[in-house]
Symmetry: C2
Amino acid sequence: MTTTEGEPTPTQLVELFLAVMGRMGAHLAACSDELGLSPQQARAIHELEQPRSMGELAERLFCDASNVTGIVDRLEAKGLLERCSVPEDRRVKRLVLTDAGRRLGRQHHQRVLTDVPLFTRLSNDDRRLLEKLLSQMVDEG
Amino acid sequence: MTTTEGEPTPTQLVELFLAVMGRMGAHLAACSDELGLSPQQARAIHELEQPRSMGELAERLFCDASNVTGIVDRLEAKGLLERCSVPEDRRVKRLVLTDAGRRLGRQHHQRVLTDVPLFTRLSNDDRRLLEKLLSQMVDEG
DNA sequence: TATTGTTATACTCTATAACTATA
DNA sequence: TATAGTTATAGAGTATAACAATA
């Protein structure tokens, strides 16, 4: 317990971030559930605002390509997207949201943004500050 | 696209937070995987630094109590915790980490804290600032 | 009666490996 | 040969409902 006041240990920071992540995760789960989607399905729709291939979607979801088959199957069965063929390379499937899919994506987006108790507690200045810090964290790669 | 400069929309902020969450999630998954744990098992061990009942653990994991039975089963099978009986109320199971469980928990904690590329990009001052903002977000409930 | 934890069930997500159809 | 996507498989997380033991 030799904690110097001037040198912040990462412990507290990571703990806090995990706590905020937990609440945000619960919020996201509730939002997708209201629309009859699993969290991962909602995430997929979000990433498909621009059409992408199966492999690209896998990268964005941080999961193996084999999982995407099932996720896309279920979204396609709900009529939320279509697997289009690509003339230049017939191996590739181009995933395109249907109108219903785009509509549901917008609804989900709205719900996620509405009443996020985490962020509503911050002043406008603090939100700008947090935005700046998060940008720094994500920048580059 | 009528975005006023002075009024920050929550959109960008939420997007950024989700991006940071995604990377942190990948980091956590990698850390637990190295120790032969699922992310949820690692999370459970983390929450059991203090002994808790099944129901308490369920609350902390934001999931139904019925799931905790399986999660605890698997941790118990690995010898990482024990279900102790509570004399005052024989319905309750008191979950206590074994020495091996506590050791693994410390290892996981170390790995999570080490080389978090997200936080290493921030200056000490910025980390303190982020810590303050995250505290505000979590405060109260 | 109410509560704690379990079981049964069914679905989703997950990675690995083997497969297909293209390139 | 290499790549994009699929299938098969097995394990883990998830919620709901019904249940046993205890309060």
